[in-house]
Symmetry: C2
Subunit: 306 residues, 2 copies
């Protein structure tokens, strides 16, 4: 099975307590693709500038990720600069340059059209919706967003949410979007806006999957832990890597049972934990499926009673 | 098996988004005792004033808690006033009156001396140590503390910690006591100060048990979830109730295996979740062991893959 993902392929300059790097290949679609590529075929839709060359392309190729949907255009790729010096759980944005993303009009290559899964990474909800509308026959659509779109582009966001089966956002985003400080009530409100499944990412505390029903019913709620890490080198992309592991595992399964979603939550946590261990995408580029499965078992040990 | 617990039996005035109550029976030893009483015999050491009468006594008696170690003296009981209006995860203290606790010198009744388990709830570490020294033959000693003692009474606290097998504190307390913003490294530092076991309580995100070894070894780390609650009526005493469920379950078991501690973490989370559902100790006074076991199974469902 294949996932088509639309989102940013970008360059990041990041400072964390462990160090600093300049203009490294990054972006939500990059992290998502690398993480998902361990589970299923991945096809990327994005736009890049003249600063994206064979070296960057090879990062995708090494993981057999289909890059035919990456449009090359004049100008510079999307650029983000952020710092985690104050708080490892939340980036402080220093600079964002949309560059080639400012005039992006996503096109779906014909070779992508039989994808059964679609992931709308965090970009302008107008673009997310445009991609969604061009792929009406996918089996399952998941997406991400952020407070900027929730606060300042709400009508477009609400429109986009109606086309989603699953939304993956963090605690704060859930509370803001749901308009309630209580996470369970906020989650229910968010699900009433479209997505049947809501994954709330808690950073170092793991993530919760809500899927309808009453809050006290274990059938409708599942919590996956995060691995307590002795050193968080760089949290950039951890949420996108979680989404890649989560959705990639789902796309790899023939049947979508409650057990599938539970295991998907664990694989999401596993990929998020790897992403934090090195700068940028370094760790995702070097790990193997065997290491992923080994860590999956570690996560099971971490929370299982028996 | 029996636990002796020393700590505050007090009155609280509390305001939460769900409402307000005035001078209700509370205190760390009260919450702890009620929660632990579902698992084992509990014996309390505390001091109360003339405002503590048969009505308050009956709360303990209804759960078969031994109150012979509660000293009655002239004056008023310990009083705390706090608000959760700004943040349900952290109380804002408005007023603390030590009252009869100011000159408390804990005495151990002879009938308590065969207790195999000792819990030192959050009070002055000098008093905690005095009780510890009077019970040198207990099998296991656990305790709690808070930032006030960590910051302003560090030498006495460090002395007390050397006599502990287990410490139960929250994230912030762990980071401050361990002197590290990274939880895993802070936890290791705290364990080097005495306690072989450290339970870090994460509020609405559950709790983590550390017990030596490297951070990535699942044998040495265990995470229990918290139940996502639709309404947190009053978080007062949730941490003490967690401790009561956790230590009470341990005291009820003949053998202390890794599985015992894992189940204890779940029972801690269960009791903490009940405590939040009504004002003060109301919920702990009305639940049954059957409800506790039912919720234990719900927690298992909430995190188990299979």
């Amino acid at each position: 099975m294949a996932i088509t993902v639309v989102g940013s392929v970008a360059y990041d300059t990041v400072e964390t307590p462990s160090g600093r790097y300049e203009r490294k290949l990054a972006g939500a679609a990059t992290y998502f693709s690398l993480a998902a590529s361990f589970f299923c075929d991945v096809r990327v839709i994005a736009v890049v500038g003249e600063d994206f060359g064979p070296e960057q392309e090879s990062v995708f190729k090494a993981r057999n990720i289909d890059t035919r949907g990456i449009e090359h255009t004049a100008g510079k790729s999307f650029f983000w600069e952020g710092s985690y010096l104050e708080n490892l759980n939340e980036a402080q944005t220093r600079n964002t340059e949309l560059n080639v993303f400012a005039s992006f009009n996503p096109q779906i290559p014909d070779a992508y059209r039989d994808s059964e899964f679609l992931f709308l990474a965090n970009i302008d909800p107008v673009l997310q919706r445009r991609v969604r509308e061009q792929m009406p026959d996918v089996k399952l659509v998941a997406g991400d967003t952020m407070n900027y779109w929730i606060n300042d582009h709400r009508p477009a966001l609400l429109e986009m949410l109606r086309g989603l089966d699953m939304l993956l956002i963090n605690d704060t985003e859930t509370r803001v979007l749901g308009g309630d400080t209580n996470l369970v009530r906020a989650a229910r409100k968010v699900m009433s806006l479209g997505p049947r499944f809501l994954v709330v990412k808690h950073g170092e505390y793991g993530a919760t999957l809500f899927h309808g029903g009453s809050q006290n019913s274990a059938e409708h709620t599942f919590r996956a832990p995060a691995l307590p890490l002795e050193e968080v080198v760089d949290p950039t992309g951890a949420g996108d890597s979680f989404a890649g592991g989560f959705f990639g595992y789902i796309a790899s399964q023939k049947q979508l049972t409650p057990a599938t979603f539970r295991r998907a939550m664990f694989f999401g946590s596993v990929m998020g934990s790897f992403a934090c261990e090195r700068f940028g995408t370094e760790r995702l580029q070097e790990i193997s499926r065997a290491q992923i499965d080994e860590r999956f078992n570690l996560f099971r040990e971490l929370t299982h009673l028996d």
